[in-house]
């Protein structure tokens, strides 16, 4: 039995599609077995909600009567610098950009990073206006040299998120072996293995459910912060050659995807600015990818459970920043991570996460609902991600 995307879409249109979340499918497979469940189930929805630093937004700002060339000049939004090295009215605001006046980690104190690019994006999505300040050198066709104005999404021709790297397939578990607390992008790590942070939805995470990228590729339509978004490209640092467990899932950070989506369709419920003390500003992003159950192997992949997914434990006091010391302190399952503590070097270490499993679950349920309602159709990708299993390999 093999199902095509077209057959599944026909079932979505006729309201007969059978959808489960990547969490619910575990129980379905336990009850019915792979063969029967693969016949009955059409789509499994995944979800994640997590800080993803490589995020940002392109804006095209409506010109006034007197035109201005932002390109080659400068622009700030609520004091946050935007990139203005594009055409006349295009700018890009990265999630991690911070205003010039921010004290950062000055005076030896971990900075608070109260406002940055992610907050600009959050404010605009929430319907708020932000203060644009810009300057240009002036040309014959674009004479205006300065513009200061509060603008909202309605003052832009286009506003879309274009995130070069989202949805990391697996991630490090961060710990601190040193004897003083450290502030990292994986949170505040207490000395001497005082705590461990992980950052993945585990069994609900999109790319962990399709470990060989058999259905997720360039052009795949996804749920993206409330909008219908698309996989635009392999994400930066996409690495399909990471070591893998027998079930195909990588044991280290591996695949990634670049995502694109219209900000006007997004909502503050699914996109949040965050401030990491001592590290910086970033954006938490909700992503849900529907996985068509094209065959039994695909069902096997999506029914993976937290106890079958493993993440490497990495020291962020020495190994990560300096490349010195032990590369990997061990490997732990997501089941252990989610239990509240893990064991490292014979020590019980309390765990916490930056990825919200509660919201990952909400994303997966939401996507299930819109597919059942016939409001979200699946796509056949236009090109595979690097390292994707070919049909031949998959058949093995």
């Amino acid at each position: 039995m093999a199902k095509t995307i077209e057959e599944i879409n026909a079932k979505i249109r006729s309201g007969k599609v059978v959808v489960f979340t990547a969490e619910e499918i575990i129980e379905v497979v336990r009850e019915k077995g792979i063969k029967q469940a693969a016949r009955e189930v059409d789509v499994v929805t995944t979800g994640t909600f997590s800080p993803m630093c490589s995020s940002g937004a392109f804006f095209n700002i409506k010109q006034q009567k007197l035109k201005m060339k932002f390109g080659g000049g400068f622009a700030t939004l609520n004091g946050v610098p935007a990139y203005a090295g594009l055409a006349a009215a295009d700018i890009y605001v990265g999630a991690t950009a911070i205003p010039d006046g921010d004290p950062r980690n000055g005076n030896g104190r971990p900075g608070k990073f109260r406002y940055g690019g992610a907050h600009v994006i959050e404010d605009l999505v929430a319907g708020k206006k932000v203060l644009l300040k810009s300057g240009a050198y002036g040309t014959d066709c674009y004479p205006l040299k300065a513009r200061e104005q509060t603008i909202g999404l309605e003052d832009m021709n286009d506003a879309f998120l274009f995130n070069p790297r989202n949805c990391y397939q697996n991630y490090n578990v961060a710990v601190n072996l040193s004897d003083k607390p450290i502030y990292t992008y994986m949170g505040k790590l207490k000395p001497k293995l005082g705590n461990a942070y992980y950052c993945s939805a585990g069994q609900l995470s999109p790319l962990l459910n399709d470990p060989y990228f058999r259905t997720i590729g360039i052009g795949t339509r996804v749920f993206f912060c409330g909008a219908e978004g698309y996989v635009a490209w392999p994400g930066t640092q996409h690495n399909p050659t990471a070591p893998r467990l027998e079930n195909g899932t990588p044991q280290t950070p591996a695949g990634t995807i670049a995502l694109i989506g219209d900000m006007r369709q997004m909502s503050g419920e699914w996109l949040r600015a965050v401030s990491f003390t001592g590290y910086g500003v970033t954006l938490s992003v909700a992503v849900g990818v529907p996985i068509p159950i094209i065959d039994e192997d695909m069902l096997r992949s999506v029914s993976v459970t937290d106890d079958q997914l493993k993440a490497p434990v990495v020291d962020y006091s020495e190994y990560y920043p300096l490349g010195q010391g032990e590369a990997k302190l061990g490997e732990v399952t997501y089941q252990a991570l989610k239990s509240g503590s893990i064991r490292i070097k014979d020590q019980k270490v309390p765990t916490g996460s930056f990825s919200s499993y509660a919201l990952a679950r909400k994303v997966a349920h939401h996507l299930k609902q819109v597919i059942e309602d016939g409001d979200f159709l699946l796509t056949q990708f236009q090109a595979p991600l690097p390292g994707a299993a070919t049909e031949k390999e998959a058949a093995k």
């Binding site: 207490k190 705590n195 949040r272 990491f276 309390p350 930056f354 509660a358 919201l359």
Partner: protein, 138 residues
Amino acid sequence: MKQTKLVFIFPEDTVEEPVTYNLIADYGVRVNILRASIDPGKQGRMVVELGGEEIQISQALNYLESLGVVVAPLAQKIRHLEDRCTGCTACVPHCPTRALDVDRDSWKVSFDSEKCIVCFSCLETCVYHAMSVEEQFA
């Protein structure tokens, strides 16, 4: 037995007095130091939980007053802004008293202000600004 959370503000000249020792040895109260910043020669500040019979505590407070120590009820309260909380659990391993905890089925983070010792760990840890401080002047 009575238990109460208090803030002691020490004037510069009492910082070198073994106040905590005296409270325990002379007044028989239980002193649990929740937070302290004391520099000799400078004003000190200590958040403590005092435990004991009512009479012991009131005598202890009289002793502190005689030294010029200002005693105030714990004036700050931490609030959990549920609408900002994503249930990510980043705060949980940093909360020393498990005032912040998570239900591992619903993945809902709960906050028990009775257990909170106002250590501010969660304020530093929560990236969503879902924890806030309320000043309460009693």
